[in-house]
Amino acid sequence: MHCDNRLGRWLHSDTPWIWLNAGAVALCLLTLLGILALIGSRGMAHFWPADLLQAQVVHAGQSRRVVGEIIRHEQVSVRRLQQAGLTLATTSPRVGRTLIHGGNRELGDSDYFWLLDSALRERAYPDQLAVFERTRWGPLYGYLRGVSEDGVALQGADGDQARLWQRFERRRQRTAALRQEMEQIESDLLPRLVRRLERLRHQQRPPRERSALTQEQQRLQQRLEELRRQAGRDRFQVELADGRIREFAMSEVIRAYRPNGMGPVDKLKHVALKLWEFLSDSPRAGNTEGGVFPALLGTVLMVLLMSLLVTPFGVLAAVFLHEFAHQGWLTRTIRIAVNNLAGVPSIVYGIFGLGFFVYFLGGRIDALFFPQALPTPTFGTGGLLWAAATLALLTLPVVIVATEEGLRAIPTSLREGALALGATRAETLWRVVLPMASPAMMTGVILAIARAAGEVAPLMLVGVVTQAPGLPVDGNFPYLHLDQKFMHLGFHIYDAGFNSANGESAQPLVYATALLLLLVILLLNLAAILLRDRLRARFRALEPEL
C-alpha cells in the first residue's frame, strides 16, 4: 500500500511497534507502583492521626455543626445523586462530595456520611477537638468538657483546657492500668483455673483438691468485681458535634488525642504507638479495630510448622530423584509431574487437606487417642497442624524443584572426587553434596514460605477462623496447641474486608494488614533472591579450581 503522508509511512515502519511494546512494559511497571502506593498510603493512613474537621452544614435553610475525619473526596455525576432522590440546584454535570467519618456510632448519627462540598461551610480545624478511641462503638469525636469522680464533677479546671486534659490523661492512665489487670485475670488467670478444674473433674479427684481451686476462682472473681467498680469510678463529659454534652465512662477509653494540635513529632510518636498496638494487640470490635497480633502469630507459626514439615521431605525427595533414582523415562515423568503439581490450584490442596487430613486422619486420631472428648472433635476438625500439613504438601514441589536445581549445579567431578578418596555414597552425600546444595535448599524453603504466607484459599477449609478462642501458643501444657484453630493475616484481610458488618470502618485496618502481609512476603522473597545470588557466587568461585 502506498502512503504518501509522513504519519502513514511512519506507521508502516518498525518504531510504532517497538513503542507500543515499550508501553506495555511501562504500564506493567506503573500498575505495580500504583498497587504498592495504594496499599502503602491507605495502610499507613490507619496509623496517621488525621486532622479533624469542624464545619457547618447548611441544608434546607438550617445549619448544623458536624465534626469528623475526612475519609475521601470524589466527584459524582449529578444524575446519580438525583436518582438517589437528592434535589440539587446546580448546572454542572458533576459535583464534589466528601465522605466524613463522624464517629459516635452509638449515638444514632450515621457513622460515615457523604456531604456535598457546597453544603460545607466555615471549615475549621480547632486544636481542642479530640479523638477518644474506645473499646467499642468506634471513635468518639468532640471537645473534652469535664472529668468527674463517682458522679461528682472535679472543680478547678473550668476553662483551662490544658489542665483539664492533664487531669483527664492521669485518670485515663489509672483506669488503663486497672483494665490491664482485669484483662490479665479474664483472659489468662481465670481460663487457666477453669482448665485445671476441668482436668481434675475428668480425673475424678477428691473434691478437697478442687475446693482450693474453687476458692481461688472465687477470689479472682471478687477481685475482678472490685477492679470493675474502681474502673467505673471516673467518667468524663464531652461536647459533641451538635453541642450536646454527654458523659462517658473512662474505662471505655483506650487512647485520647487532639490531632489538630499535634506537631509532626507528636504525630510520629502517635504513629509509633499505633504501630505497636497494631503489631502486638488483639483485634477489637469484630476485627475492625485494634491489632493483628493473633493473626500475625498464627501466620508465622503456621508457616514455621509448614517449613519444618516440608524441608526434610522435600530434600529427601529431591535427593532421591537426582542422586539415587535411575535417570530413565519414569524419573523424567515424575520430575515433570512434580514440577506441574506446583501449578495445581491451591484450593485443590485445600479440599484434599479437609478430606484426607481433617476428616480421615483426624477422625482416626480422635477415635484412637481422644475417645473421651468425642463427639467434640479434637484433631477431626481444622487446626494448626492440618493447615501446616496442607500447605507443606502444596509447597513440596517448590522445595523439590529448587533443591534438585541445586544438586544439578554441583559438578559431577566433586562427587567423583569424594568417591575416589574412598568415601561411601552416603558420606559423599552428607559431607560434599548436601552442604554445597544447602543454599539451594534454603532458597527452596524460603520460596515455599513466601508462597505459603500468601495462600489463603486452602486455609479457609482447614482451620483458619476469624476469631480464634486463644493463641495457638500459651502457658498451658502442652504449650503449642496443634489442634487449635488459628487466625491468619490473609484470611483476616478477606474476612475484615468482606464479612464485617461495618465495611467502611474496617477499611483502614484491612489495608494496614495487607501492607503488613505484603512486607512479610517481600522480605521473604528478598531473602530468597539474596540467597540465590550467594549460591551462584559460590559456584563461580569454585569453577576455576576444577
Binding site: V25, Q83, L316, V344, A418, L421, L461
Partner: protein, 737 residues
C-alpha cells in the same frame, strides 16, 4: 572433606579396620534405604492427592444395585393384600388386607407383631383406599361408605409400637346417599381434604382433624368430567384435582381460583396403567399400556395460566407399569410393571438407573422405606426384602452437563443450586454454570494479560538495553509475590467502586493509551537530533513512564465531558436504561483486570525467557539479509519462540482457572451463565471455597465438590504437562541449532 576417623586410641589393626569398613558399609546401605524409602514415600504422597480425589469421586458414578436381603419372609402373609408400607424408618412393616385387617410385622423376619381388625360392617370389604399422608388412609368400603384410619408410632424400648386412631370416629361415614365410587384425600394443616366421585358427580369435603367430627366443615360440588374417573389425585395446597379417564385422558379440575377452567388432556394414546403423584406432589407420573413412562407437571402457558405438560419420557418398561414407590431424599423412584419387572429411575434423568426382571412374576404390592432404601415386595402372599443401593442416584455424568427441566421451572436450564438445610427444593447440580464462570473469568483475565505481558516480554527480551533488562525483569516478577488476597482486596474495595464511577474513563483509556503512545513516539521521532540522542536505544520506557500517567490524568475530564455529551451524564446508568445491560458492582471486568495482573508476571517471565532463548544468530542473519529489526522479530524470532509463548499462555491460563481468592472477593459469586462483561460469575475454585465447609461428609454435594476439584486438578495438570513438553521440545531444537 574428611572421612570419618577410625576409633581413637586404636591402631588400625586389620580386624578393627574391617569392622570399621563394615560399619561404614552398613551406614551407607541404611542411608540409601532411608533415602529410597523417604523419596518414594514423598512422591507417592503427592500421587495420593490424585488417588484421594478419585476415591471420593468414584462412588458418585457407581451403578445402582438392588441387593436381596431376604428372599422369602416367613411366615407367609394371610389375606389378600391391598396396601403395603414400611414405617418407622423401615423398622415396621404394615399390611392391609381387603378383608379389613391391619397387620404389623417385622420387615426382616416377617414375624407378625400385631393384627388389628378394622371396624367394618358385616361382610364389608375394602374396595379402594386413598393415602392422605401422615399415616392416614381413607378406606372406601364395599357399601360405599368411607373410613379414615390413621396409624401412629410411639417409640419404646422394644422398638416402635403402633397405635390405631380413627380421626373421624370408628363408624364408616356415608358421604353420599348413593355411595362413593372413587375417592382421593390429602391431609394439610390438620385438615382432611377429600374428593369423591359418585353418581356422575364430583364432591369435595373438608374435615377438621382437631375436632373428631364426622360431619364435614365444607362440602360442595365440583365441575364434572365428561367421563367416569378411574382414579383421582389431589395436588398439594388443594390447588387442583387430577382425574384419570379412559383412553389416556387426564382431566384437570381447578379447586379454587375461578379464572381457571376445567380441561381434559389426551396424555397418551393408550390406556393409562399408572397414575401417581411423586413426593412433593408437584409431578405426575404416568405409565401406559405400552410400557411408556413419563413425568408431567404444570408450567406457565402463553396466556398467563398454567398447563399440564409432558416434561420427559423415561426408558419404557417391558409391560404396563402398575406400581410405584418413591424416595424424596434423592428424587429416585421404583416402578414395577404388571409382569413384575422392576426399574429404578432418577426424577431428572430419562435413563433407568437399574432394571431387573423380578423373578417370580407379578407383584401384588410394593413398599419402600425412604430413609433406609429397603424395598418390600409381595407376590403370592410371600414378602421379599431388598435394598436399593443408589446413594447418588440423582447424579449421572450426563446430568452434570445437560440442561435439566426441574419442577417449578418454565424451561430446561443449567442450574447450580445445592440443597440447603431445611429447604424442600431439590438440589440442582449442573456444573455448566460453574465451568462457564471459570472460563469467563479466565478468558477476560487472559484478554487483559496477553497483550500486556507478551508485548512487554517482546520489548524486554528483544529491544531493551541489557542493563535495564536485568533490572526490569525481577521487578515485574516481583508482582507475582503480591498475594492474591491483596490483589482481591484492592480490586474489590478500590477498583470496583472506582470503575462504577469512572467506567467511561477506563474504557476511554483502553483506546486512548495506544493512540497517545503512538502520537508521542511520532512526535519524538520528529524532534531535533540533539534531543533524541538524549534517549539511548532501548530506553523507550523512560519517557512513557511520564506519558502514560499524563494521558490517564487527562482522560478523566475528557471522559466526564464525553459522558455528559453522549451518555446522559453517567455511562453506567445509561447502559442500564438505554442499552439494557445490567451493571453489577463486582463484575467480570474487575475480575479480568485483577486476575489479569495476577497472571502477568507468570506470562511475562515465561514469554520473555522463550524469546530470549532464541539464538541471536537467527535474527542476525535476517538483519544481514536486509530485514528491519521488527521484520526479523516477526518472521524469525517469534515463529521460533511461538511454541514457548504458547506454553506460557497455557500456564497462565491454568493459573487463571485455579485462582480462588480474587474471584471469591471480586465476583458476586452468583452461578449465572451470562457473557456480559458487567456481570459476575461463580467459578469452580470459588465454589469449593464457599460450599465445602457446609457440605456433609459423604453426601452427593460433597462428592461433586471433590469432582470439581478433580476437574481443576486434571485440567491444570494436563495443561502444565503439555506446556512443559512443548518447552522441552523447543530446548532440544535450539540445542540442535
Amino acid at each position: 572433606m574428611q572421612v570419618e576417623a577410625p576409633p581413637p586410641g586404636h591402631r588400625r589393626s586389620p580386624p578393627l579396620h574391617n569392622r570399621w569398613l563394615q560399619l561404614r558399609r552398613y551406614k551407607d546401605r541404611l542411608a540409601t534405604l532411608l533415602i529410597m524409602l523417604g523419596g518414594l514415600g514423598v512422591i507417592l504422597s503427592l500421587l495420593l492427592l490424585l488417588f484421594y480425589l478419585l476415591y471420593q469421586v468414584v462412588p458418585l458414578l457407581a451403578p445402582a444395585r438392588i441387593v436381596p436381603l431376604e428372599h422369602s419372609l416367613q411366615p407367609p402373609f394371610q389375606g389378600q393384600v391391598l396396601y403395603l408400607a414400611l414405617d418407622a424408618e423401615g423398622q415396621m412393616g404394615v399390611r392391609l388386607t381387603r378383608a379389613g385387617e391391619l397387620q404389623f410385622f417385622h420387615p426382616t423376619t416377617g414375624a407378625l407383631r400385631r393384627r388389628h381388625p378394622l371396624p367394618l360392617p358385616d361382610d364389608g370389604r375394602i374396595v379402594d383406599l386413598a393415602d392422605a399422608g401422615e399415616g392416614l388412609l381413607v378406606l372406601l368400603l364395599s357399601d360405599g361408605t368411607v373410613l379414615p384410619v390413621q396409624r401412629r408410632y410411639t417409640g419404646a424400648d422394644g422398638g416402635p409400637q403402633p397405635t390405631i386412631h380413627y380421626p373421624l370416629g370408628n363408624q364408616p361415614l356415608r358421604l353420599d346417599p348413593s355411595g362413593v365410587d372413587r375417592l382421593t384425600a390429602t391431609v394439610e394443616q390438620q385438615q382432611l381434604l377429600l374428593v369423591s366421585f359418585q353418581a356422575g358427580r364430583l364432591r369435595q369435603f373438608r374435615f377438621d382433624l382437631r375436632r373428631p367430627d364426622p360431619l364435614p366443615q365444607q362440602a360442595f360440588n365440583l365441575p364434572t368430567p365428561g367421563f367416569e374417573p378411574r382414579k383421582l389425585l389431589l395436588m398439594p395446597h388443594a390447588s387442583r384435582l387430577l382425574a384419570l379417564g379412559p383412553e389416556g385422558r387426564v382431566g384437570v379440575i381447578p379447586l379454587h381460583g375461578a379464572g381457571e377452567s376445567y380441561e381434559v388432556i389426551r396424555a397418551s394414546q393408550e390406556e393409562i396403567s399408572l397414575f401417581e403423584l411423586l413426593p412433593g406432589g408437584r409431578s405426575l407420573l404416568l405409565g401406559d399400556r405400552s410400557g411408556a413412562l413419563s413425568q408431567w407437571f404444570f408450567t406457565p402457558d402463553r396466556y398467563d395460566g398454567t398447563r399440564l405438560r409432558e416434561i420427559r419420557q423415561y426408558d419404557p418398561l417391558p409391560g404396563p407399569p402398575t406400581l410405584l414407590a418413591a424416595r424424596s431424599e434423592d428424587n429416585s423412584f421404583v416402578v414395577l410393571d404388571r409382569a413384575g419387572a422392576l426399574a429404578l429411575y432418577s426424577l431428572n434423568s430419562s435413563r433407568a438407573l437399574l432394571r431387573s426382571e423380578a423373578p417370580g412374576g407379578k407383584v401384588d404390592a410394593l413398599a419402600l422405606s425412604p430413609p433406609s432404601g429397603e424395598l418390600l415386595l409381595e407376590r403370592d402372599r410371600r414378602g421379599s426384602l431388598w435394598r436399593l443401593q443408589a446413594p447418588h442416584s440423582e447424579i449421572t455424568l450426563d446430568s452434570l452437563w445437560r440442561r435439566i427441566w426441574y419442577e417449578d421451572y418454565d424451561q430446561p436450564a443449567y442450574i447450580w443450586q445445592p440443597a440447603s438445610a431445611g429447604s424442600d427444593t431439590q438440589a440442582k447440580y449442573s456444573l455448566a454454570p460453574l465451568v462457564f464462570g471459570t472460563l469467563k473469568a479466565a478468558l477476560y483475565a487472559m484478554l487483559l494479560a496477553t497483550p500486556l505481558a507478551i508485548g512487554g516480554a517482546i520489548y524486554t527480551a528483544y529491544c531493551m538495553a541489557p542493563g535495564w533488562r536485568r533490572r526490569i525483569k525481577p521487578i515485574i516478577e516481583l508482582m507475582a509475590a503480591i498475594p492474591s488476597v491483596v490483589l482481591g482486596l484492592i480490586a474489590a474495595l478500590w477498583l470496583a467502586p472506582f470503575l462504577l464511577t469512572h467506567l467511561a474513563a477506563i474504557l476511554l483509556l483502553i483506546v486512548l493509551l495506544p493512540i497517545s503512545i503512538l502520537l508521542f513516539a511520532f512526535g519524538w521521532e520528529r524532534m531535533p537530533q540533539r534531543l533524541r540522542f538524549l534517549l539511548p536505544e532501548g530506553w523507550h520506557v523512560i519517557p512513557l513512564l511520564g506519558v502514560i500517567p499524563l494521558v490517564t490524568w487527562l482522560a478523566f475530564p475528557l471522559a466526564q465531558w464525553l459522558e455528559a455529551w453522549l451518555f446522559d451524564g453517567q455511562l453506567v446508568l445509561w447502559l442500564g436504561h438505554q442499552v439494557g445491560i445490567r451493571y453489577e458492582l463486582r463484575n467480570a471486568l474487575v475480575v479480568g483486570i485483577a486476575m489479569g495482573f495476577a497472571i502477568i508476571p507468570t506470562l511475562f517471565s515465561l514469554t520473555e525467557e522463550a524469546i530470549h532463548a532464541v539464538p541471536r544468530h537467527l535474527s542476525n542473519g535476517a538483519l544481514a539479509l536486509g530485514a528491519t529489526p521488527w521484520q526479523a522479530l516477526i518472521w524469525m524470532i517469534l515463529p521460533a519462540a511461538s511454541a514457548g509463548i504458547f506454553s506460557a499462555l497455557m500456564i497462565g491460563f491454568g493459573r487463571a482457572i485455579g485462582e480462588t481468592m480474587i474471584v471469591l472477593m471480586v465476583t458476586g459469586n452468583t452461578p449465572i451463565m451470562e457473557f456480559n462483561l458487567f456481570e459476575g460469575m461463580r467459578t469452580l475454585a470459588a465454589n469449593i471455597a464457599i460450599e465445602m465447609p457446609q457440605s456433609t461428609v459423604g453426601s452427593s454435594h460433597y462428592r461433586i465438590l471433590f469432582l470439581t476439584a478433580l476437574l481443576l486438578f486434571l485440567f491444570t495438570l494436563v495443561i502444565n504437562t503439555l506446556a512443559e513438553l512443548i518447552r522441552q521440545q523447543l530446548r532440544r531444537r535450539y540445542r540442535a541449532l
